[in-house]
Amino acid sequence: MNITRRVSWVGFAVDGALTKSTIHFLGCSGGVSAPYPTQVIITKFNNEPEAVALEGARLNTPDGVRIDTAFPQEGQAQSALCGVAVEITSNQAREEIDDSQCFIELQSRNSLLKYRPIQYTQPRTPKTGILIRDHLTVSSVVLLNPTDSEQASPYLVRVGEAEVPLFPETIKPWGVVEIPASDEWFDRSSRPVSLSGGVLQSVVVSGVGETPLCGFIVYRDAAIRRAISVQSI
């Protein structure tokens, strides 16, 4: 009897005129070295989900696909920012395939950013993250709702001794929102630390309870707003 194993990730991508995204994945199982076939399903979403199944992927063989290749019929999106869910299924592996890995790459002129999306189980326990403001960096938070129902954000920002909601509204099914870090959060809570080129301020973001949402802190170049580093929360 074949055993079906599945692993999934959720992350964000950008599919616009200036920035393209590629999803890279490696399905692997610790005890299996043969390149058994795997099924890969990629779902792109921004209020509406759209899924494609990729053919030809194999265990232990790295592979990847550009978003605009996987979704060639896509019209001009309202926003270039979108959510992406990636699922690898193997019906041959005799062991778990949760050692499998995934990266999302955002490509724009003179910039390449690669980060690991969240390996997804529903619900998940949110992680703590840190928002940073300095002479090189600004921060924002991207929240993704990879479900069919509206969801409230569990994330709180520690502002002084108080905790304020990061995003007080609910997030639509398959919704994607980006929340820029507020200057007020830094001004009210953070002791500036001197750097050679300016000062650094930081604020903690943490989650309460469990949530089906996925969150990422995106650090951007302060001058041209190019994304330079990503942390999941």
């Binding site: 890279h24 490696l26 790295p62 990266f103 003179n110 950013l113 980060y115 630390v193 330079i228 580093s229």
Partner: protein, 218 residues
């Protein structure tokens, strides 16, 4: 006691900071113990830091790194952060024009794979950072999938040590025929716990070199 491990580099990064944030549940001052290890896995410094609840401590690491040796042209190593609190820590690596934020390292289990998508081009250079958290020497096989070639190289990392491996040199034979999009697969042999990062530098017109470090925990 909760212990987390972080990689840091002092060069070519102009400033390296460790940010410590006690958990939201902490009601008293949280004591952190920092232990610094050089690339050969040798302990060379330690520090004790007390952080008030509802605050973030930002430490410049350079004052703790006297005597840290160079390896592959970089001064780099690992710091373990121990405390009884479930708080968090991050390393901020700032080059002249770009910042990378790193969380704690994730370990690839023995007989499992590390995996990185890489873009080899004339204006880019890649360092594979391999960190061995175990008491034994780690034996790793790195295989590069580029066009229809898949050469491999063996790597050995000392116990509790770290190594920066210039990938353009390690795979010079295949890269001499041209670059392009590729994948690096790293297989850890024997019972070792190893973490991997990529330090990628790129020459940019008018901006000089930017350095990005990626691949840490999701």
């Amino acid at each position: 006691m909760i212990e987390r491990r972080y990689w840091f580099a002092a060069h070519p990064f102009s400033e390296t900071h460790l940010l410590l944030a006690p958990s939201a549940h902490a009601s008293e001052t949280v004591e952190y113990q920092l232990k610094f290890f050089d690339p050969d896995g040798l302990f060379f410094n330690e520090a004790h830091i007390a952080v008030e609840p509802i605050s973030i401590a930002t430490l410049e690491l350079e004052p703790f790194l006297h005597g840290l040796k160079f390896e592959s042209g970089l001064r780099h190593g690992c710091v373990t952060v121990s405390s009884s609190d479930h708080g968090n820590a991050w390393v901020r690596l700032a080059s002249r024009t770009q910042v990378s934020i790193l969380s704690n390292l994730i370990e690839v289990k023995s007989e499992a794979n590390g995996f990185f998508p890489l873009n080899f081009a004339q204006d880019r250079k890649h360092l594979l950072v391999a960190i061995n958290s175990s008491d034994d020497e780690a034996h790793i096989r790195g295989r590069l999938f580029l066009r229809n070639r898949a050469p491999d190289v063996p790597l050995i990392i000392p116990p509790h040590g770290s190594r920066c491996i210039p990938l353009e040199s390690a795979f010079s034979d295949v890269l001499s025929e041209g670059g392009g999009n590729s994948y690096l697969r790293l297989t850890v042999k024997q019972p070792a716990r190893v973490s991997f990062l990529i330090a990628e530098s790129q020459e940019q017109a008018g901006e000089g070199e930017i350095v990005s470090v990626w691949g840490a925990a999701a």
